[in-house]
């Protein structure tokens, strides 16, 4: 198998094994129904009490569809940090380093397969629930295209961040604390609960350029308010994020693998 196609194979195998878990479907449905219902009530009350028909440029219906997408993205995150942490501590990583396969790319492959399947499932369920709760929103083919185009780099960026934290297992007694904080910050600063437009004015400008928003808010906004210029901007920010975090990963991974070879794993 040639170079990169190896990793695509890994991704598709991982994807297939995830589809097999049909029990997941039922769990997802309940999970998303509860969260989206709570958000629905929250926003219904907010819109009603403030007497507004639009907040931050979102109607109530658009808000809920937006939230359905952000939730789908957040909930599709595979447990990358835990996987890397475990591989480091059990010495599995050392085993991987001997094989003619890049460990980071291997992880990327397996986690992408899982992520894509879970996201598709979440989105399907989430949008149906949103439809039931608030009815449809105006959608163009552009909306869907922009959303789909915004996702790949978002997922890669999120992967790199998680992978980086996982590598912390070489030096830290425990990485669960860090990953907890990271995921929480991604949720909040990434706009999972409210779109960036509704944050205090002063915060909005720098929130938009932070990587968190480019993982969550950026793609979700595409569904509600698609625009090629916004998409381009988003892709640039995502790429910059990938380059930045990617460089960190490369450095840390280099140090880590040297450590493995020096200590014999």
């Amino acid at each position: 198998m040639t170079g990169l196609s190896k990793y695509f194979y890994i991704a598709s195998t991982s994807a297939k094994s995830n589809v097999a878990y049909l029990g997941e479907v039922a769990s997802r449905v309940i999970f998303l129904a509860v969260i989206l219902y709570i958000f629905l009530r929250l926003w219904q009350v907010t819109y009603a009490e403030t007497g507004a028909s639009e907040l931050g440029g979102f109607t109530l219906a658009q808000m809920l569809w937006y939230l359905a997408v952000t939730e789908s993205i957040i909930l599709s995150a595979p447990r990358i940090t835990q996987m890397v942490d475990r591989d480091v501590r059990t010495g599995e990583l050392a085993v991987h380093l001997i094989k003619p396969m890049s460990y980071p790319l291997y992880c990327l492959g397996t986690s992408m397969g899982e992520r894509v399947v879970r996201f598709a499932l979440n989105l399907g369920v989430g949008l149906v629930i949103a439809l039931i709760f608030v009815g449809p929103i105006p959608l163009q083919p552009l909306s869907i295209a922009c959303l789909l185009l915004a996702l790949p780099l978002a997922f890669v960026l999120d992967f790199l961040a998680n992978f980086l934290i996982g590598l912390g297992a070489f030096w830290l007694e425990d990485t669960t604390g860090l990953v907890l904080i990271y995921s929480r910050i991604t949720m909040i600063l990434g706009g999972m609960l409210i779109p960036i437009e509704l944050f205090p004015e002063a915060m909005q400008s720098w929130l938009r350029v932070l990587p968190f928003a480019s993982i969550v808010y950026g793609p979700a906004k595409m569904l509600v308010a698609p625009s090629t210029s916004a998409l381009t901007e988003l892709l640039i920010i995502q790429s910059l994020g990938i380059v930045g975090v990617g460089a960190l990963v490369a450095i840390v991974y280099g140090i880590a693998s040297r450590r493995v070879f020096a200590n014999g794993g």
Binding site: G23, E24, A26, S27, I30, F31, V34, I35, Y37, I38, R41, L42, V45, T46, A48, E49, T50, L172, E173, D174, T176, G177, L178, L180, I181, R184, I185, I188, L193, I194, L198, P200
Partner: protein, 276 residues
Amino acid sequence: MAAEIIEKEQPVLSRLRSYLGLVGAYTGFNLKSQWAYRGAFISQMFAMAANNFVWVAFWALFFERFPVLRGWGVKDVITLWAIAATGFGIAHTVCGNALALPWLIARGQLDVWMLYPRALLSHVLLGRMSATACGDTVFGFAVYVLFVRPDLPHFCLFAALSFAVAFLFVGFSILTGSLTFFLGNAEGLAEQWRFSMITFSTYPATLFEGFVKIILYTLIPAAFVSYLPIEALREMSLYYSLLTVLGSLAVLLAGILVFYLGLKRYESGNLTEMRG
């Protein structure tokens, strides 16, 4: 031989004292055990507390901007988060094994606990301490004291209600965990039920009405966390406090009932998997 073994039925008060002594011993040893890996312990505690703090800060800002909670203010929302955290935190700091119940049951690990001359449920729950729950507890009290700035009476009521909510969470964990007796490893469903409870507990019940509100007092007893204690503190009300306590006890009793029903099944050996 049996006649020589004279078993005195101990009076209730001394049994309670003996149990509280056991709780103290377990909590002490659990802490000591966690402290053996203090790096991980502290970082998990800290992470949970930091986590919660960020979450609360966010919602505080939101409700400052959108004062839409039908009479509730920001302080009330913070109180809600605080008591959900302290309740959940105390519950699983002391009774950490409540969270591990499905695992214990599925793997036949209850056997070891059954060999002790102690009531099974109240004993097995003590066997573990959740590090993140410790973080929740610390956070809850800290955030209440620092941001709501209560006077002494309010603080005492808060502490008392935290314990009531703790009983509720323990009872609920037992209830959902005991489903493993009946459903084998259908943890998925119990997980979702648990998740719904925790999620609803952290949003003001004032948002919900009608049918859903009924559910919040029954199937998903979150209102006993997200409404009644807050009202009790707002008005220093004995009435609401009593309702909170009664609700918590009801959930606890329900959990105990389901557990012992399931235990009968366990003892007959006819769980879904036959343990060699």
